[in-house]
Every structure is written in C-alpha cells, then in structure tokens.
C-alpha cells in the first residue's frame, strides 16, 4: 500500500469541500480522479500532497512514500511560458526535497536528473531552454522533475490540458510506460475522461463525496459513468 484514504474530509476554514472520500493506491496502480469543475479535485490533490490536513477521517502513507515523498506535476502557470531556465535546471529542482540548508546539488543529484530525463526521452534537450519546448516536451520535463522526488508515486494535475491530440496521446504513452515498465503508481486528475478511461485501471469520481470508486470497466458500465460520459459523447 502506498496511500490510503479512509472517509477523509478536506476543506478550508472549517468548510468541507469534499467529504467521506475513501480509496487506496497500491504499487503499480493507475488511478484517474474525475468530477465536475469545483467538485474538489484540486483540494483532494492538496490533501494527498500533505499541503492541507484532513478535517476528519484518516489518510495513511506507505513506508516508501513516507521516506521519499510524492512526485508532483502541478498545472502549468503563465509565468513558466517565458521562463528562462534550461531543462537541466528545471529537472534538478526536483531533487530539492532531500537537500539541507545549503541547497547545492551534488553529482548524485545530477545523475538522478539525467537518469530521469533518459526515462522520459528528453535527455537530448538537456541544455535547451524550457520556454522554447513544445507543450508536450515541457510536460515530459516536468514529469522527469517529479520523478527526481520519487519514482514510487506520481500525482498529476490536469496533465493533458492545453496539449494537442498528438501531444495528449504521446503523454498517455509516457505515463503507460512509466506505470508498466517501472511500476510507478500514477494518480491523475483529468478533464479528459474519455481519453483517460482507456488508459487507467481505476476511476475515482468525486462530487462532494465519493460518487464512484472502481475499475475503469465498472465505471463505463455504471449508470453514473454512462451519464458523465454520455454528455461528452454527444
């Protein structure tokens, strides 16, 4: 077990945004979190990352996650579009977690960064400026950065937003590879429900509380899944 939520409630200033969420992530899991806008997906992600404390319920982390933390891919910001930084500089910043007060990188950090760039096929971009990359390349670089924190569990917030169809397919292939080859567990928040559904193993649909939690196939067959997908299909 990497991560388990038992009837967890998250919110701000004593106001619950999502409540009674129950799910578990094991090694090799590929989970997609879906739900309407404002249903609390981002809040749940913050909770998983430990940025906000649960108001009630229990959230437990496995040993591997506790020590190495979670690899995180946030939504991209506007500032990053014209940010002058090389790919190496960006990926290295993923090693920051393990650093002490003097946050200088050593050779081991650089090797970790290079290994993760190789995993994602961006090592030839090493010295390129981040702002000159395509959207898909940027996401790969940011995933490499996340992997520097840990290769056990990745949390991705809307990873395919803003990517064209080729870029999206490409990113799903990257994630599938990480999940199958390296056994990295992936939690992905996505708007692209139909695209994600063919990729992931499990679906968690939230809207205030847990509405659905089960395999992708079960989700497709469920009344709720049909309704949510149906809207998108027409």
């Amino acid at each position: 077990m990497l991560l388990a939520c038992k009837k967890v409630t998250f919110g701000y200033e004593n106001k619950a945004v999502i409540s009674d969420i129950t799910f578990q992530v094991d090694a090799g899991e590929y989970l997609c979190i879906v739900g309407e806008n404002g249903a609390g997906k981002s809040t749940l992600v913050k909770g998983i990352l430990g940025l906000i404390k649960p108001m009630s319920g229990e959230i437990a982390f496995g040993e591997e996650v506790k020590n190495a933390s979670i690899g995180y891919l946030p939504q991209q910001t506007d500032a990053q579009k014209d940010f002058p930084a090389t790919v190496m500089e960006v990926v290295l910043s993923g090693c920051l977690k393990q650093k002490g007060f003097l946050s200088f990188y050593n050779r081991r950090d650089k090797e970790t960064a290079l290994a993760n760039m190789r995993k994602l096929g961006v090592e030839q971009l090493l010295k390129k400026s981040f702002r000159n990359l395509s959207g898909g390349q940027q996401q790969r670089v940011l995933i490499a950065r996340a992997l520097c924190a840990t290769d056990k569990l990745l949390v991705l917030d809307e990873p395919v937003t803003g990517l064209d169809p080729t870029g999206t397919a490409d990113l799903y292939a990257v994630l599938r590879n990480l999940n199958e080859q390296y056994g990295t567990a992936v939690i992905m928040v996505s708007h692209d429900v139909r695209g994600a559904l063919t990729e992931v193993k499990t679906v968690l649909h939230i809207s205030f509380d847990t509405v659905f939690y089960g395999t992708a196939q079960e989700y497709r067959d469920s009344d709720f899944g049909k309704q949510f997908l149906g809207g998108a299909q027409k």
């Binding site: 933390s69 002058p84 993923g94 946050s103």
Partner: protein, 274 residues
C-alpha cells in the same frame, strides 16, 4: 574613460558613491530576476515611493534617514506581500501605498524645509548623498543580501519557477517570498539615495529584462543581469560626472539603451532561426 574614472577616485565622496553603487547594483540585479519573473516588479516600484515618504519624515524629524526608512520600507514590503492574497488586488494596493507615501512625503517636506535641491536629489538621485556611516551600513547590508541570495539560490529558483511544486517539495514558499520582499526592501533603501526614489526600481527591472532577452538559462540570466547592471552603473555614473546630469537618471538612460540593443539582438536571432 579610465582617465575619468581615475580622476573621480580622487574625490572621497565619489569613491563612496562608487562602492555603494556597485554593491547596490549587484543586489538589485540578482533579486530583480526573481522579482520580474514572479510578476513582482511593481512591488519594487511601490517600495521606492514608500522610502521617499519615510525619508522626508526622517528629514523633518532630524533622524538619520537610513535608520528610519529601513524598518518602515521592510514592514511595508511584508504588508504588500500579505495584501496580495487578500481582498484588495495587489496592483491596487501597491498604487495606494506608493502614491499615498509620496503624497505624505511631499506634504511633510513642503511644510518643513520646502522643495529644495536636497529634495530633488532624493527624487532623482545624487552622488553627494552618502555619508561615511551610510557607506558602512550599505556595505554590510549588501553583502548580507548577496550571501543570502547565494545560499538560497536553488530554493529561490524553485519558488520562482513553480510555487506549487516547491510547496509539495517541502519548501516554505511563504518564507522565501517574504525573504525576497525583505531583501528587496533593504536594497531599495540603500540604493535610493544615489538613484533617487523615482528611479531606483529601474535598477531592479532593467538588467533582468535585458538578460531575459539574451539568455535561456536561469544561471546565465542571473550572471548576465549582474554584469549588465554593473556596466550600466559605471557608464551612467561617468556620464553623470561629466555632464552633471542626475546620477539615477543617467544610469536609467544607459540601461534603457542596453535593453533596446538586447531587443534588437533578440529580433535578429529569431529572424535567423525562422
């Protein structure tokens, strides 16, 4: 050029101005890159107006200017950062605080000393402003700013590039934003006597903007920013000495030309790539 510089070294007050100018230019250019990228440029501008207000009040009270403006500007920097997340939008908050303190400054001066040459010096910079005590304080504080910047370099990069990721990596983002604001406040107070309250923010913004046109790596941008800042400072101060133009304005002039050149270089490069 060298001849003029040697001649300038003959005057103790000019030596003082050179020392402080070099240090402040370095601090401003290092912090500037993060500030510009985080869209905090206007905070620098707002703080410089606050430092003018504080300075005028200090003059009226007969207190040493640096001793009063340093704490005041630092506190305002912290407030501005906090307000940014609150109900009042941060650009509006900055506008209110900066024009407010400018207004207070002008009222206080006109009630006491009146609009003298001194006041003009505060607004647009003067080489004569630095006392020996000011110089010592400036040296100590700017070295502290530079050392903190170097120690926190990687974390500052992370906080500048991606706050959400930095937060998830356990970096105390709020603390580093605060640190950035405080270091900026210190730099502005130190530099404003020479650059002038109206113009000090250019020292923060111009070198960073120029370097971002030319380089694609964060480290290169930081180094280039420091170099650009120093070069512009020297040309500006020589110009100021030769033609008796206000120091701050001359340095801004040189910076403007360099930025213009950088934009042209960028255009040519892009044209070649396309």
């Amino acid at each position: 050029m060298i001849g003029i510089l040697q001649e300038m070294m003959g005057y103790p007050f000019l030596v003082r101005a050179l020392i402080v100018g070099v240090l402040v230019s370095l601090c401003a250019s290092l912090l500037g890159v993060s500030l510009v990228l985080k869209r905090y440029s206007m905070i620098g501008d707002g703080l410089s107006h606050v430092s003018f207000g504080a300075l005028s009040v200090a003059m009226a009270l007969g207190v040493a200017p640096l001793k009063l403006s340093l704490p005041v500007v630092t506190i305002v920097a912290v407030i501005l950062l906090r307000v940014g997340n609150g109900r009042m939008k941060s650009d509006a908050a900055i506008a209110v605080i900066s024009s407010g303190s400018l207004g207070i400054g002008v009222i206080v001066t006109s009630l006491t000393t009146g609009m003298t040459v001194d006041v003009c010096g505060y607004m647009f910079g003067s080489l004569l402003a630095m006392s020996k005590e000011d110089v010592m304080l400036s040296i100590v504080l700017s070295i502290i700013v530079i050392v903190i910047f170097i120690i926190c370099y990687n974390r500052l990069f992370a906080v500048t590039f991606d706050e959400s990721f930095a937060k998830a990596s356990g970096v105390k983002v709020g603390v580093y934003n605060m640190l950035l604001a405080i270091l900026t406040a210190v730099t502005i107070v130190l530099g404003m006597r020479m650059m002038g309250a109206m113009l000090i923010s250019s020292l923060i913004i111009f070198p960073a903007l120029t370097s971002m046109r030319l380089f694609g790596s964060f480290k290169a941008v930081i180094i280039s920013s420091a170099v650009v800042s120093l070069v512009c400072f020297f040309f500006g101060i020589i110009c100021s000495y030769q033609y008796a133009t206000p120091t701050g304005a001359s340095i801004v002039g040189v910076n403007l030309i360099v930025l213009f050149l950088a934009v042209i270089v960028e255009k040519i490069r892009k044209g070649r790539l396309a």
